[in-house]
Symmetry: C3
Subunit: 140 residues, 3 copies
């Protein structure tokens, strides 16, 4: 049983941009010596979150963004913006709702995702960001 910590750096554009993490995660796991256990992906920072979806353009480019605009509208009042005189209160609220981490079982070196199920990062911030993801692999 072992623990490995990998870091993944990605460039995002913000404004609910959705990034499909399949390829970078596959690259990380191809360098891992662990084949069975759990993989925890965690995004550092409080204006982005992680989940899974089918990585097709309708969901990635439109539907998830529209859903979060419905849940926590950009133009609503956020006390956070008065604290810092900034504009990303909705980004913080959306990130808290989605959550910063996802845990997926690893079996025979492969994440147990469905064929049309990919791990995605949604960056809710209002500007481009360099995001750091921690990929913790634990198992045999």
């Amino acid at each position: 049983m072992a623990v490995e910590t990998h870091t993944l750096n990605v460039r995002t554009r913000g404004n609910a941009e959705v990034l499909d993490l399949s390829q970078p995660l596959t690259d990380v796991l191809s360098r891992s010596s662990i084949s069975d256990g759990i993989v925890t992906v965690f995004v550092v920072g409080s204006t982005a979150g992680l989940t899974t979806t089918e990585a097709e353009p309708g969901l990635l480019k439109h539907d998830l963004k529209a859903a979060f605009e419905h849940l926590a509208p950009e133009q609503a009042h956020y006390a956070h913006e008065a604290t810092w005189n900034d504009d990303n209160g909705h980004a913080h609220v959306r990130a808290s709702l989605l959550g910063p981490s996802i845990t997926v079982p690893l079996v025979d070196g492969v994440l147990t995702l469905g064929t049309w199920q990919q791990i995605i990062l949604i960056d809710f911030d209002t500007r481009a960001r360099d995001r750091r993801l921690v990929v913790q692999v634990m198992g045999d």
Copy 2:
């Protein structure tokens, strides 16, 4: 320290049907040789999700379904449906919001749930499905 991978197959009816997973999970854990660690339950596919609730009929049959209809209405416009000419855009969005996995500590062979707290699967798809859940148990 060991890792065990169990599979759980359940039949769902979709349309935000909520399944209480207590009994199947208890069965899986009764066959496990691990008593202390973490249990990760993961649903394969991108139109269902996992969380906990009190398994009583009001929440299971009405309130959770109504809440997700409020969050991501079935009749809203989803670009996903144009991509595939299907009808389950809301199911994808809801599943991404809820998330595909849940991690619960295991202590002395028992999940550390509250008395009125059960692990549930919500299937948001618009048709009956055979769902595969991966139950990864890691610990001593």
Copy 3:
């Protein structure tokens, strides 16, 4: 590789009170012999949840509460309340949406959180509660 189970007891006031768990979690981890692995924090009960946010007063005292009132309004109809003749249907729904657990990588004895990213508990119940949190640390 080892597993440690710690318990954290906190007093909450309910009504979407947000508690910053940084200090109690730092105390727990300072007593741990594990420096690299994953930390799973789990709240026992079905009317509270865990996530991360920037712990500043605007988000903690106003924005998250307002967001959950928008998502699952206190005055909406909840069948749960008819079942038990109580008043906390919204609390159950909000807790299921947020989720009862969070998993964060631990590296060199420190959680991989951002500088302005803290683990928080939100208690949605309609009264003060004594909450039990399980902090499971697994790793080397």
